[in-house]
């Protein structure tokens, strides 16, 4: 259930549509269906993966810094075509999706995420956890992320961040 912040009145239908979007996001990553992932963003989207430390200190550098859906596509293609990495499986879960404000520029939400990772012939492990800070808009009838900031709690990435989170 997508929750809403105290004092807001939001219909159940919108909550359900948002839940569908958030679920589709995790699903794209968990299925390894990276190709579906950019479709959940608007064309002019912003997507960043950034350590909490940088956010708190006002540092702009992000591990992944995309300024358009095209850049998301470029990253997916680059991962598929150019990158070397040891095989791994990611499993992303989301909790505490909260609609915090409805503004002219879209719906503002936050959510907690955790990603578990499984390296070949190794037990599954917690890889990262953190918070998403999102702006969602109605993009021609479909809800899409106009902005998604994945702010992870740790300063440390175990080895590499191969797949987006």
């Amino acid at each position: 259930m997508v929750a809403v912040a105290p004092g807001m009145e939001v219909g159940l239908e919108l909550r359900a549509r948002l839940a569908d979007l958030y679920c589709a996001y995790d699903d794209a990553l968990n299925d390894g269906a990276l190709e579906r992932w950019p479709e959940l963003f608007t064309e002019a989207c912003v997507y960043k993966v950034i350590p909490r430390e940088n956010v708190e200190q006002g540092f702009p550098v992000a591990l992944i810094y995309c300024e358009s859906r095209d850049m998301l596509v470029d990253r997916v293609v680059a991962l598929r075509e150019t990158a070397l990495f040891a095989p791994r499986i990611a499993r992303r879960i989301t909790s505490g999706i909260c609609l915090r404000a409805i503004e002219p520029d879209g719906l503002h939400l936050t959510a907690s995420f955790a990603v578990f990772q499984t390296m070949q012939d190794q037990p599954s492990e917690l890889f990262l956890c953190g918070r998403c800070q999102d702006r969602v808009v109605d993009d021609g009838g479909a809800l899409r992320f106009a902005e998604r900031l994945c702010i992870y709690d740790s300063t440390i990435i175990p080895t590499s961040l191969v797949y987006p989170v």
């Binding site: 992944i64 470029d74 990253r75 040891a86 990435i157």
Partner: protein, 412 residues
């Protein structure tokens, strides 16, 4: 794994520095010696950028070898680097990773140190109502925080556990200093942010990786495909006299097919970006080098890859893992466009970098190959067996240079 002989009985292969025995990446005793002889001796270790602690009292923690230190700007503006260990009963005095302080108060018993590490106060040092307290002959001046030798140049701070018998400038040597000053030209630096990754490999594999131009054209499909680094470009590998420091210098090429790309499986002629902004490098340094990667013994890589600038600090944990701590920076006089460009190009670097994740994964896979074959030996013969500067990329000379120095330091 074979039964581990004592370090004393380890013998380097007869071939010398063109061979690296796998036990240098796995043996805990070798690692313990490295902490002393490589990271804990009189070498200059990278600590932080000056701009990270701009004002008196500003501090930042850093790890030199495996030791936690605090770099703090004193009231007089000088920078002190203090070991983060209370002289009383060894507690970490500073628990924040950065901040600003007037003094350091150990939480346990509130022994208080000034910003130079001098012991200022001990609660109840004279006891209370005539009872207890420290012995009359207790000398506070002998119980400060351990303070390191410190130097800095053009905004970059270095420290040493020993008493260095040479200045940073002479430690770097003339040639390396030139490359250093190319990026650190005296302009005000601006930190753009940090990244950090824990890599399950021996720390030396990181240096090998950056001292190895041979891999760049072969491993980094992204780099090669877009002509950011090509072995067929004019380039150079240079070292200081000792071999401990090095630079790789390269130039951008076109995304074209030729006799070199024929040997580069990595090259994908048809690949194009949807959003060209990701790769929009602009020449900003004198000369036509577009990539200069400098490796400074024993814990620093200075990265200038197109317009991404970063300090990469190596923090060893044990024989099989280290942290790589990235500090991305620019200059105070960067235009907004250049600022944005640096942020965009950061997509190629760091733990998720479209280029550098190849490297962290290569280190993981190398250590995996090493771990269960520590009786085997690496062959480092590309470009011959000598340690000489080279005007090209088809060489592992800088790795040989590194191990030449390493062996002399480690008496191996």
């Amino acid at each position: 794994m074979s039964a581990q002989p004592a370090t004393a009985t380890r013998e380097w292969p007869d071939e010398g520095s063109s061979r690296v025995p796998n036990w240098v990446y796995t043996d805990p005793q070798i690692f313990a010696r490295e902490l002393d002889l490589v990271f804990g001796a009189s070498d200059w270790l990278y600590v932080c950028l000056e701009t990270e602690i701009p004002n008196p009292g500003d501090f930042k923690r850093s790890q030199l070898g495996n030791r936690e230190v605090v770099a703090v700007r004193g009231t007089d503006g000088t920078i002190n680097v203090l070991v983060n260990r209370c002289a009383h009963r060894s507690m970490q005095v500073c628990t924040a990773s950065r901040g600003s302080a007037k003094e350091f108060v150990c939480p346990y018993h509130q022994w208080t140190y000034d910003l130079a590490g001098n012991l200022l106060g001990i609660p109840f040092r004279r006891g209370y109502r005539g009872q207890g307290g420290m012995p009359p002959d207790f000398r506070p001046e002998e119980h400060g925080l351990q303070r390191l030798a410190v130097t800095h140049r053009h905004g970059v701070v270095f420290a040493s556990f020993g008493a260095p018998n040479e200045s940073l400038e002479s430690y770097l040597g003339e040639r390396m200093l030139g490359y250093f000053d190319r990026v650190f030209d005296g302009r005000q630096l601006v930190v753009l942010g940090h990244m950090r990754q824990r890599i399950p490999s021996n720390w030396k594999l990181m240096f090998e990786n950056i001292k190895d131009p041979y891999h760049a054209s072969l491993l980094h499909v992204f780099l090669v495909t877009f002509g950011l680094f090509r072995l067929d470009q004019q380039s150079a590998v240079e070292m200081d006299e000792t071999g401990r420091h090095a630079v790789l210098v390269s130039r951008r090429g076109a995304q074209e097919t030729n006799e070199a790309t024929a040997q580069m499986r990595a090259f994908k002629p048809g690949f194009a970006l949807q959003d060209k902004r990701l790769l929009d490098p602009v020449r900003e340094f004198p000369g036509d080098a577009t990539v200069v990667m400098q490796t400074l013994w024993p814990n620093l890589i200075v990265q200038q890859q197109s317009n991404t600038l970063a300090m990469r600090q190596i923090v060893p944990h044990d024989a099989r893992s280290f942290d790589l701590a990235w500090t991305f920076f620019g200059y105070a006089d960067d235009t907004p466009e250049m600022h944005q460009r640096r942020l965009r190009q950061a997509n190629l670097m760091g733990p998720a970098g479209l280029v550098s994740l190849d490297d962290s994964e290569a280190m993981l896979l190398s250590q995996a190959g090493i771990d269960t074959n520590d009786d085997k030996t690496c062959v480092v013969e590309m470009g011959g067996r000598a340690v000489v500067n080279e005007p090209h990329m088809v060489t592992e000379t800088a790795i040989r240079g590194f191990y030449q120095h390493y062996r002399s330091v480690m008496e191996l």
